[in-house]
C-alpha cells in the first residue's frame, strides 16, 4: 500500500546517506524487514532494526543511525516512543532518523500539524534519546564480540 511504500522510501533515503556505496559499485543492496508485531512507533522500530542489520552484515557504514518517534499530545507535552493508542490520540506524530556523528538529522517525517517551536523541541528531545539507543548498539556489539 501507499504507507508501506512511503516507509520504504524513508528507510531507503536514510540508508543511502550512511552506507558507503562507493565501495560496492554496480551492486544492489537489498534490505528486507518483516513486521512481527506492531505496538506503535513502527517507523523508528524499522530504522533501528535496519541499522542493526547493516551492522551485522558487515556493510561499510559512514555512521550509525537510529529512529525516534515523538508524539505531541493535545496539551503540548512530548511523549517519546508512543504506543499505537498514544499515537492516535496525539495532535502530531514526528519521526526522526538521527545519525551518530554529531547527532545530525538524516530524515524527518510528520503526521499531523505542529508549530515550528514544537518541532524544534521534539527534535531536541529526540537527539537526547538517540544517545540511549546508540549506547544499546554498543552494548549489543560488545556482547556479541565477547563470546568469540
Amino acid at each position: 500500500g501507499v504507507m508501506e511504500r512511503s516507509r520504504e522510501q524513508l528507510l531507503r533515503q536514510t540508508c543511502e546517506a550512511v552506507v558507503l556505496g562507493v565501495l560496492h559499485p554496480r551492486t544492489a543492496i537489498t534490505l528486507v524487514l518483516q513486521v512481527l508485531s506492531d505496538a506503535g512507533s513502527l517507523l523508528s522500530c524499522c530504522l533501528n532494526a535496519a541499522c542493526m542489520a547493516l551492522l551485522d552484515a558487515g556493510l561499510p557504514l559512514a555512521a550509525l543511525f537510529c529512529g525516534v518517534t515523538c508524539a505531541l499530545q493535545p496539551d503540548g507535552t512530548i511523549l517519546l516512543d508512543p504506543t499505537a493508542r498514544q499515537e492516535q490520540e496525539a495532535r502530531a506524530t514526528l519521526t526522526f532518523a538521527i545519525g551518530s556523528s554529531g547527532r545530525k538529522v538524516l530524515m524527518a517525517t510528520t503526521k499531523g500539524s505542529c508549530s515550528v517551536d514544537e518541532m524544534q523541541q521534539c527534535l531536541a528531545a529526540a537527539q537526547r534519546a538517540a544517545d540511549t539507543i546508540f549506547q544499546f548498539y554498543r552494548d549489543s556489539v560488545r556482547r556479541r564480540y565477547s563470546k568469540s
Partner: protein, 256 residues
C-alpha cells in the same frame, strides 16, 4: 551541534569500535604524514608509514571506522590498524586463497562462483604445466582452489592457480568426493591462525584432508562418509562452542 570527539587509536586497541567512531593517530604519525603529502613518488616505505586495514578509512587527520568489531594493531614495520569483524558475506581481495565452483566454460576462460557479487574468471593457462595443447581437465561443477590475481571493486575478479613463480603450491582442481560447506569468515581466520588448536585436536581423531577458502568455504574428505560428516559437524559447531565444550565433544567421539 556537538563536534565528534576522536579517541586515541592506541587507547581503543582490543576494544569494540562502531562505524562513525573517529580514531586519532598519535603525533609522530602526523609528522610523517606531512612529509608524505609533499612526496609524489612512493619510493621506500618511510619509518612511520601507517597501514590502514579493513574496516578503516582515512579521514582528515584520523581514521574513520566503517565496520563494527574489535580494533587490532600490529606495531611492526610502521604499524597497522584494522578492525576484526565477523561477517558471512565475502568480498574478493587480491591475494586471498579461495575455493571456487566452476559454473560455466566460456571459450578460454572458466567462470567461478566464489561467493562474491560477481563470478570470477580463471584462464585455462593459469594452471601449472598448462599449454595451449595441454589443457587442464576442468568440468562444470568442479571445485578449484586458487588465489585472486585481480580483485577490486571496479573490475571483475580474476583467479589463478599458480603463484608468481609459476608453481602451483597446492592450488588447482580439488579431487573427487569430499564435502564442501560454508562457515563464517571469522571462523576461517581462526582456523588459519598458526597453531590452531581445533585442527590439532581434530587430527588426533581421524586422518582427513582439509581445504580452507578465505571466502568461508571448507572442503573436507575423510576415509568414510560418516567420519567426514562428523568432522563437518564439529567444524560448523566450533563457531559457537567454547574450548571446553569442544574438548568434551571430541572426547566423547574418540571414546565411542
Amino acid at each position: 551541534m556537538a563536534a565528534e570527539r576522536g579517541r586515541a587509536a592506541e587507547a581503543l586497541v582490543g576494544q569494540v569500535v562502531l562505524p562513525g567512531d573517529l580514531l586519532l593517530l598519535p603525533a609522530h604519525y602526523d609528522e610523517d604524514a606531512e612529509g608524505e603529502r609533499l612526496r609524489l613518488s612512493t619510493g621506500a616505505a618511510p619509518q612511520g608509514r601507517l597501514l590502514c586495514g579493513p574496516g578503516l578509512r582515512r579521514s582528515g587527520a584520523g581514521l574513520l571506522v566503517t565496520k563494527c568489531g574489535l580494533l587490532r594493531h600490529r606495531p611492526g614495520g610502521g604499524g597497522a590498524f584494522w578492525v576484526d569483524s565477523q561477517q558471512k558475506r565475502y568480498v574478493p581481495v587480491k591475494g586471498d586463497h579461495v575455493i571456487g565452483i566452476v559454473t560455466a566454460k566460456a571459450g578460454d576462460v572458466f567462470r567461478l562462483d566464489v561467493g562474491g557479487s560477481e563470478p570470477a574468471s580463471l584462464s585455462y593457462l593459469a594452471f601449472e604445466g598448462a599449454t595451449k595443447r595441454n589443457r587442464p581437465n576442468v568440468q562444470v561443477g568442479d571445485l578449484i582452489y586458487g588465489q585472486f590475481l585481480v580483485a577490486n571493486k571496479d573490475m571483475e575478479p580474476e583467479m589463478v592457480c599458480i603463484d608468481s613463480s609459476g608453481r602451483s603450491s597446492g592450488m588447482g582442481i580439488i579431487g573427487q568426493d569430499g564435502f564442501l560447506f560454508k562457515v563464517s569468515l571469522g571462523l576461517i581466520r581462526k582456523l588459519l591462525a598458526p597453531k590452531c588448536e581445533i585442527i590439532q585436536e581434530l587430527s588426533q581423531l581421524y586422518p582427513f584432508e582439509l581445504v580452507l577458502g578465505m571466502n568461508g568455504r571448507i572442503w573436507v574428505k575423510a576415509k568414510t562418509v560418516q567420519q567426514t560428516l562428523i568432522i563437518v559437524n564439529i567444524l560448523e559447531a566450533c563457531e559457537y562452542m567454547t574450548a571446553e565444550q569442544r574438548k568434551q565433544a571430541l572426547a566423547k567421539l574418540s571414546g565411542t
